[in-house]
């Protein structure tokens, strides 16, 4: 593709992205905001799965920690929102490093079960430690993110906060994938023994990726708390982890931007189908199954393959 066409395609994509929330209803923009939040958290899960072969069902814990830290520091301590979000990321990454170091010695199903255990423990603690989390009652009255007096207090405004962050993170992960360590990640997925023989410290790299994934989960959780202004334990149950994993698989774990497509799919489609009435859950389930069977590499993989086939002609 010529540079001019390249620029036109990107320009059109940008224009579409910028115009979309103005054309959509408030409800749809709200869904798009959630898609952005899920893209951030799901990117962490997808990167672990696609590049390291790690199935993580623990992302809801880091999402929860991010949200509760944002809530607790702002509501209980009256500190500004960046402090709460930063605290969430520090706490999440510390836990990810401490827990990840031993459990990432496992692999396959055993590792998936270990992360599931982490997810369940998190869910229980969020409920039991109600002095901090508010338990089932939750914490309300979380202030909006308002830098320099400009409050991100509507779906439209938050759309222009969350999506640039999500896209920036996608770009950073793209960079990582095409660097020394990104190559090493892809290599150890193919043959861990050969990667070790070239000097790659596989375990260390896996732990680093788990920590990075936790940071993304926590950031998404913090943004979520400031967006909905109310957090309760229901938002951080194990089914949230499954949603993140689902969107990663649907979007495609071998492309960096796949999770964005997966996130749009799982947020927009159920709502859109709900007009069909009671049957919508079945239709959504059928769509999921069809997507997984027909597009084993997810939407991202399918688009990439189509693009490559076209370029080869």
């Amino acid at each position: 593709m010529s540079p001019v066409r390249h620029a036109i395609v990107w320009g059109l994509a940008f224009a579409l992205w910028a115009a979309l929330p103005f054309a959509a209803t408030r409800h749809v923009v709200d869904l798009l905001v959630f898609a952005g939040l899920y893209t951030i958290a799901g990117l962490g899960v997808a990167f672990l799965l696609g590049q390291c072969g790690i199935v993580s069902l623990a992302q809801s814990v880091f999402y929860g920690i991010g949200a509760y830290c944002a809530a607790w520091f702002c509501v209980q301590k009256g500190l500004p929102s960046p402090v709460g979000m930063a605290a969430g990321i520090v706490l999440s990454t510390s836990i990810a490093a401490l827990v990840g170091w031993p459990i990432l010695r496992l692999s396959g199903y055993f590792l998936a079960l270990a992360t599931l255990a982490l997810g369940i423990i998190g869910q229980v603690l969020f409920l039991e430690w109600d002095g901090i989390t508010g338990g089932t009652l939750g914490i309300g009255g979380i202030p909006r993110i308002a830098p320099f007096g400009f409050a991100f207090d509507t779906p439209l405004r938050f759309y222009f906060l969350v999506w640039p962050i999500a896209l920036l993170l996608l770009a950073l992960h793209h960079n990582l994938l095409h660097s020394r360590n990104g190559l090493a990640l892809r290599a150890m997925r193919d043959s861990p023994e050969a990667a070790a023989v070239l000097g790659v410290d596989i375990h260390r790299l896996k732990v680093q990726m788990f920590v990075l994934s936790a940071a993304l989960g926590s950031l998404a959780g913090g943004l979520f708390a400031h967006y909905v202004t109310f957090v309760s334990v229901d938002s951080f149950a194990i089914d949230r982890s499954i949603s993140f994993l689902l969107l990663a698989v649907l979007g495609g774990v071998y492309t960096v931007w796949g999770p964005a497509l997966g996130a749009l799919f799982i947020t927009i489609l159920p709502q859109w189908l709900s007009r069909l009435g009671d049957i919508h859950a079945f239709v959504f389930a059928a769509a999921l199954i069809a997507a997984v069977i027909l597009l084993p590499e997810g939407f991202g993989g399918a688009i990439r393959n189509w693009w490559r086939a076209r370029a080869a002609k």
Partner: protein, 257 residues
Amino acid sequence: MTTAQTTKPLLQVAKISHSFGGLHVLRGVDFGVSAGSITGLIGPNGAGKSTLFNIISGFLTPQHGSVQFDGRDITRDPVQTRARAGLVRTFQTPKVFAKLSVRENLMLGCYRHLSSGVGGNMLRSRRSRLEIEQMQAQAAETGERFGLGDVMERPAGQVPAGRQRIVELARGCVTAPRLLMLDEPSSGLNTTEIEQLRELLRQLNSEGITIVLVSHDMRLVDVASRVHVLCFGSIIASGAMEQIKRDERVREAYLGI
């Protein structure tokens, strides 16, 4: 060669014993590899060659004995630590990164010499970009040298099996190893290719790479200046190939007389 190098071998394996369950695979194996040499390791099937290779490269910790590399005890070091010190091996069944292109496979050979972190990589730091350029340059040069120019962009898993072995060897050379350990490098190659491999090993050796070679193939082992014969977990003979061929015990072990 200086006196220091001759007195202190690059690799020293001392009193290595290892058993799997009740099966004694290695029984007190001792041998040294002097810097700048080509050393052959031969022996019948089940002699313990692969186990010994795994112990030297770090995939297995021996129950007894020690491995020293460049005067340092590495018996308990993990694989990647040994690799970073310059001890690099290939595998009997070539292990290429199947989904990565041949170019990317070769690029990874540079890994041990580079140091950029995950954060710098994400931000495309100056170092991160320079490293990629360096990796690409090395890969292109080595690919050309090993005659892989026509398959550089192909996924390595789709390259014919014989050439995967060459990819693996080339990748090992990009690491600029101090000691290169080759496990059956000639299997699956025809006579002409074995001849080319011999020439290549000589060349690499003349560039200062010490080589240890496990092979069944006498046409290839000839290239070694010193050969150790492993039989039922013990070294039964050591010396130049000509000497080995005349050894009574070796003839017995191989020919079963």
